[in-house]
Point group: C3
Chain length 327, copies 3
């Protein structure tokens, strides 16, 4: 099978064949990253533009380094210093960078759906530009979902990461599911690959919608919990999510302390999981809130650094696949 | 003829021979940009510094990409995060970047004349650094003027862009002429190449000075109008200018709506022009104010994307010519 | 002797052998910078990350250009737009960039000791990442101290810069010693190389601690003055320091004018020095406060531009030495 997607906007409709192509491609770039000379000429002379309407240093750095390691030229647009404030529309900004010969656009926006709108406009214009969603509102963050999947696969069989490794694994996702595009992307990828996914969150942060999404597809195994314990019991992997502190002032949570007492991941609680359980977090972390420092810093348990590391290989893989599409 | 200008500060004294060198050089880089591999080694190992005292994402991106496509290294200075706020003078900032081996400086400043002052200082110091004005106050924006000229020439004869193509063409420039450095650079280039230039603006935004400038040179054909219709009647090209919304609070305009009614470019009004009239805008646009969306998005009429696209080739040409001066 | 330091955090414990390696390496890169093609492939495929928690355009530009001239890829982290504001710790930020394959970290922070803490964490993790202090609080700024040393050596014997050239030279450091990490790094390097260093500052800006530091080592010659004249009398070099204007509101100084009258460097006062005295300033300068314009702009006296220029060669040397350590 070959890659056919011009845009990567979300994982909701990804097939396992597509996950496997991404995982294989990322694995080969992962090998490149072990060499002293970590660059390949795959996208030489091509332009990758980071259109970041919502600012994010770490995600932008990761895409920028991935693009440079493929030898692409990178343009960075950050809304903070942009002409958006001069009244230009988002599509006009995108078309300006299109006119500057952008080959691939990496789009991040605080509102759901913006990357889709830009991708649709590129298609309407008949140009062969690929759009990659780098996080849109509360919708999806597919490159994060894919790097999490890759990281899990590497734990299960580092020699050959593939989707079928997830069959029957129990994976808990804990925290502010409601506002998390990371959770959404992970729910799609993990359930599609056959994992049993358990969500744990306070009722105010756990929307019913997810169960509805999965009901349509009886192959997807998704479970919801208002307590942590049943979600993580005998789990193979526990993913914690970043808690936005503004949730307090929105009256969605009583206090950080109570949240930590009920849903914080610590060493004691992890005793409920499989003995070799691994803990994941998309970063940046609030230490002592969603996760304790001793867990986060324990290389036997924590995959946090591996996730960041794998982000480069996954983003190289995605840019490479999008950039080498046969038309 | 060969290129002899170390600095490009404005178009007021450009000769048609110089316009033709720029147009030819840009045309050859335009061909490079059609290749899959869009880079040339022309400025390898050289340093281009963007000294942007006034911030501008799109112009900076265009110069940065142009420099990278010539294989130069690029340094970006943005006043927002600069030591200017620490009391350093503009010349000291320029000399700091000079001391870091800058070969070419691209200077943007909110005040007219700053690039000239920096260029004079470089000459006084006896260094062979070229200064390119990327927009200074209400004075000039020569690379914009040149990319507009290149874009017009491409419409008239894509196979060989040259200044003589403009002879006898009618070009209207509509909007806030008073505050526009883009208008000033275009007035110089278009009248020098033999076009008949018609300015249209409300009296508060149309200074008499332009007529005075051109009276000194009887070969320049410049006309001024307080109404839109006579300016665009039988025009070959209509350039609209960005309207700064702060003009309202300065009592120079009654309202955006009245401005649009009197000077906004729409499909109906364009019926007054030549049948194959083309519309231009330096961006970013206020859709529905200076131009309607249906005109701007009509590829048969609008040159807006081509202008942005040609900006790369023109800036490559200018950096190349300045960087390859024989001393 | 070969280079053995993984991190460069300060000059307090540098040996003259180490100074000589840095000076020799910088001299060879200085030759590279005279060529039309100023790049070498020494760090190709390696990643240098600028972790700038305190912003500084000029220092960041200097490190960025140095890294690019060694053909490294550069990532820039600026706290202004960072996840630090999202509650992430400094070490987690550093570990994120470590996980993205950073080989060398250049760290700047408003608080003393931060680069040390990051370096210690890298060592604890067992990774071979080098940390270079690009200025930490009022502690040290070693690359500035080294570029100043290199600049002095070049004046004394451009053909072979070496530490022994400083023996017996009188060097005055004038200004706000109390708050200056530049002064601290220079005190260490200059006294270690055998120069006689004279500090001159108002009593509120001249802490006793420096004398204590040097008393422990009888080979270091350091003298303190509350008046300018004895410090600069018969001096070979006069270094002025930037005066932060906020020192007024902290009641450490009566006024800029009085400061200038007592400690400002002008042509008259320099008559007290050796006839061929050279004046230095780390920049950015407050012209007319710590130094007059005619002195600063006199190429026969002022080394200010040479300091900036040598900054590139010194930073190339440091990144090169750290990046080519045998383990």
């Amino acid at each position: 099978m070959t890659w056919t997607r011009r845009h990567i906007l979300g994982l909701a409709d990804f097939t396992t064949a597509e996950y496997d192509i991404v995982l294989q491609t990322a694995a080969s770039f992962s090998d490149v990253l072990l060499r002293p000379m970590k660059k390949v000429p795959a996208l030489q002379g091509r332009v990758v533009t980071n259109l970041f309407f919502e600012s994010s240093t770490r995600t932008r750095s990761s895409f920028e380094l991935a693009a440079k390691r493929l030898s692409a030229d990178v343009m960075n647009f950050a809304a903070a210093t942009s002409s958006i404030t001069k009244g230009e529309t988002i599509l006009d900004t995108a078309k300006t960078y299109l006119a500057m010969d952008t080959d691939l656009m990496v789009v991040r926006h605080q509102h759901s759906g913006v990357p889709q709108v830009i991708a649709a406009e590129m298609d309407r214009l008949g140009v062969q530009v690929g759009v990659l969603n780098a996080g849109d509102g509360q919708h999806e963050h597919p490159s994060q979902g894919l790097l999490d999947l890759f990281t899990i696969c590497e734990v299960l069989d580092a020699s050959k990461p593939r989707s079928e490794l997830l069959a029957g694994k129990k994976i808990a996702i804990v925290g502010d599911i409601l506002h998390s595009r990371v959770a959404r992307s992970n729910i799609w990828s993990l359930t599609a690959c056959g994992a049993e996914v358990h969500l744990a969150a306070p009722p105010t942060l756990l929307p019913r919608e997810f169960a509805d999404f999965c009901e349509a597809d009886p192959n997807r195994k998704l479970f919801m919990h208002w307590q942590l314990e049943p979600a993580i019991a005998a789990a193979d992997f526990v993913m914690t999510l970043r808690l936005q502190k503004e949730r307090m002032s929105q009256h969605l949570l009583p206090s950080l302390r109570e949240y930590h007492q009920a849903f914080g991941i610590n060493r004691d609680r992890l005793q409920l999981c499989k003995p070799d359980v691994k803990v994941m977090h998309p970063g940046p972390t609030n230490r002592g809130v969603e996760i304790t420092s001793d867990v986060m810093d324990d290389p036997a348990m924590s995959l946090v650094s591996k996730q960041v590391h794998n982000g480069i290989a996954i983003r190289m893989a995605l840019l490479y696949l999008m950039g080498n599409l046969k038309n």
